[in-house]
Symmetry: D2
Subunit: 140 residues, 4 copies
């Protein structure tokens, strides 16, 4: 089982008035990792359709440790925990070599932009996603 | 059981390149509603301590319908679904009179900024929170 | 000479780690005021074209006083200081009854989205903009 | 004369509903470059005081070309165009090898956080800044 590794640079403005990376901003980090995973890797594996659109149906996110701005990036590891007929679930950990900051998961629905409606996952996409499929979600 | 009602103005920049309010931005709306609920109302009811600090431990959020920018605000209704010894769970609906856009919940941990650690919920805070307590979470 | 008055709600997240509304965020307030001015008022006065697109060519912004998050909105007053053949200049003050926080100006270029290029200001738009035209820019 | 070079990663969410990097977001890029310049480099050259605080007094920014999200970073080149008694002016270009997207300048005022007031630039800081001093601002 592979994990997609995304090196995520922080911005100073990611911190809020309490001096920590704001809880909402971590979902931006997940978005960047997910787009890198689905938009950048998928086409190379023959799944141009994901680039055409997908919709977030649900997030779950657990905040394990606070994070302060620094110049080195954090790592977002992503993998797939469920492949349904018309949705998939991505799990993530936001971490560095010392510790985990966030564990999360997102239900994504592929979307047909032309027809303006959700669509099924193709056989080709399934093949690609299965490389990243792990039975276990992130342990919280 | 009361619900806290927050009228949440949108910003044009809340939309992403797909022309919808971005999924991450809805968590900003929840943050605004939660701060309004906990920072503004609580002190008047004798709970200055919440203003001193609290930490988000977890979010769950379901996206029911897309939302496009408009000049009228959306309503964020908030209530309490669980009061623990050292945490509480807030449920929300983001809606307008016609429909619901988002259902979500957040686990909040009161935080002692001086001691730099989580703290227990006081008896006084419990009284305040119980006014907003409902057994049922938002139906998804 | 009229000024366009926009009541601009703050968000808690507009503050940065120094506990003030971040300098970049004030440009969001200007954006909201400008959109309210150009997208909302203009159509009612017969200038649907502005809603079709416009591009920011330049900002100048002076920070007069720091602003801390509060629950009452600030006021953004906007007016027009220059109407060119294919651009206009909007001046602004961000203020409340006690003081001015920011003075700024923006050069806006009307844009033809279909043709993908800048376009001239129509006679009709000029009439609308002239109501807000003042010779003097904001005094800094 | 040296220029400070900052490699600035974009985020997908930097785009607005028109599908371009939003004009306000470019000021975030300038902020990241400026913080990298002043907070990270200055201390190593013996100017810890800049890290203690500084305030933006003014921005001027010209938008030369639209920018669309991509996975490769843009470069922010920064240099100093004026060193006053209690302020300095930084000029920037946001570019890639092919073209320039933005030219801008910022007046920064060093700030004494303990005394809560602006302060003078030290002789030591002047020496550091002079390495980046160029008489000419960015040509617009």
């Amino acid at each position: 089982m592979a994990r997609h590794i995304y090196s995520c640079p922080l911005r100073w403005s990611d911190m809020d008035a309490f001096g920590h990376v704001n809880n909402v901003v971590f979902l931006r980090y997940l978005e960047e990792a997910r787009i890198d995973f689905m938009f950048r890797l998928a086409p190379g594996d023959g799944s141009p359709s994901f680039a055409g659109g997908s919709v977030v149906a649900r997030h779950e996110i657990d905040y394990v440790r606070p994070l302060v701005h620094r110049h080195s990036p954090v790592t977002v590891e992503s993998w797939v925990t469920k492949i349904g007929a018309a949705s998939l679930t991505i799990a993530y950990e936001i971490k560095d070599p010392e510790q985990v900051y966030v564990r999360a998961s997102t239900v994504v629905v592929p979307y047909d932009l032309a027809a303006e409606r959700p669509r099924r996952i193709s056989a080709e996409e399934k093949l690609f996603l299965q490389e990243y499929l792990a039975e276990e979600p992130a342990a919280v």
